[in-house]
Symmetry: C2
Subunit: 222 residues, 2 copies
DNA sequence: CTGTCGGTGGGACTGAGTACCGTGTCAAGT
DNA sequence: ACTTGACACGGTACTCAGTCCCACCGACAG
């Protein structure tokens, strides 16, 4: 016998799929789960929350992963933290896609989903702020990067949710997308392939920069 | 005598400020505006909507500005479209800051605000998608850029809403922030003022790259 | 047998949002 | 002057989400 909470989740997904979200009352859900209406609101704060049952747990998992980072492993931590979420959705399988259909068609659920997205961005932002903070420019960059990570993750996730790509392809695209994001935000100069391109700027003639150039080229990596 | 709609807006802001959002009923707002409750719901879809009275108009203004763009003026269009929103908030003055305090303290209003943010991102995204679309990588970049523009705008706007900077400073920071965003997403090597120097790293000695450098520097713009 | 504690159910209540109907007003059109 | 119709508004009644409070029940300890 599954737990009361799980029975409520199953009942909710089933009924929302059958009749639609607005056409289903909390009473209906509670009735199908064979519990009282009060019990529903003890398990979930609202009718919408039952669609995102483990959002809080995910948020905690992301925070936990980020907390293990050091200054040298910020990028890895960010990537893996985002991957925790992706992996969870992929593991959910059908249910995640069912939720996606619901969030597309019901405005209330859509805004709920967006609100949870913002929470992820918040977590990434405060994390990055801790490592890169300081100047106003750094703050902006931290926020942009946090945002970009979540956006890239969602971009890939959505493609899987729409069933345009398989789970395996999603994993691969996630990796390349995160690389793309980190490359875009890497400063000061992105490096593509075997050749690194560095951009300096000055008003002096090219020849006078040669010593500086020599130093840059001699350094193995940025 | 201001219009019924305007009286409702004034009444709502006043009461939400005095008693708080949750402690104020729609009846209260309607009563202070000296209209019936029904009239409130005819003017606004929900109790939250009265806080964002001209959001729809803003969305339209942004779309309109973007629609005038050509392939050559995409960046300018994006910048100016975002600026339309900033300018509107700055013109609102006190009321915008009042709204900000409300959205910080009331979760329901916060998620409503976030939902409207997403609509802006959507507009920018479909716009950019139209100009840059094609490959999966281009799609991702378009979404990232749309996101970054909205994020940068909001970053600056928030600083003004918190009254950490003045309206004039907000304008200046907006310009530099948008430059920063466009620079981050510019590919592959941005050139700003003065002389641009591109350094290629390879296995060959620096001197052998001089002809290539000279050619790059000679070219006026990327 | 008694206390109590966690999970549960029920019933009453508030308030948002909707549907429907009635009314006053203003501006033609005749 | 009378009708007609569009329009904005007010009132009533209803559904349903969410809250509050109280009662119940089984487990478990003393």
């Amino acid at each position: 016998m599954p737990s009361t909470r799980d029975r409520l989740i199953d009942a909710a997904f089933a009924l929302f799929e059958e009749r639609g979200f607005d056409e289903t009352t909390v009473d209906d859900v509670a009735a199908r789960a064979e519990v009282g209406r009060t019990t529903f609101f003890r398990a979930f704060r609202s009718k919408e929350d039952v669609i995102f049952p483990d959002h809080d747990a995910m948020l905690g998992a992301v925070s936990a992963r980020l907390a293990t980072a050091t200054a040298a492993t910020v990028e890895v931590a960010v990537t893996e933290a985002a991957h925790v979420v992706l992996a969870h959705y992929l593991a959910e399988g059908t249910r995640a896609q069912q939720r996606y259909r619901l969030t597309r068609s019901v405005p209330a659920l859509r805004s709920r989903e967006v609100a949870s997205l913002l929470q992820y961005q918040q977590v990434f932002r405060t994390f990055l702020h801790g490592w890169t903070g300081g100047t106003a420019r750094a703050d902006l960059r931290a926020e942009l990067l946090a945002n970009a990570v979540v956006t890239a993750h969602n971009h890939v996730l959505r493609r899987w949710l729409r069933e345009t790509i398989t789970a395996g392809e999603a994993e691969a695209e996630f990796a390349t997308s995160m690389d793309e994001v980190l490359r875009i935000f890497a400063d000061p100069a992105p490096s593509v392939g075997g050749t690194a391109v560095v951009v300096l700027r000055s008003d002096q003639p090219v020849e006078s920069l040669l010593p500086a150039l020599r130093e840059v080229v001699a350094r193995p990596e940025t």
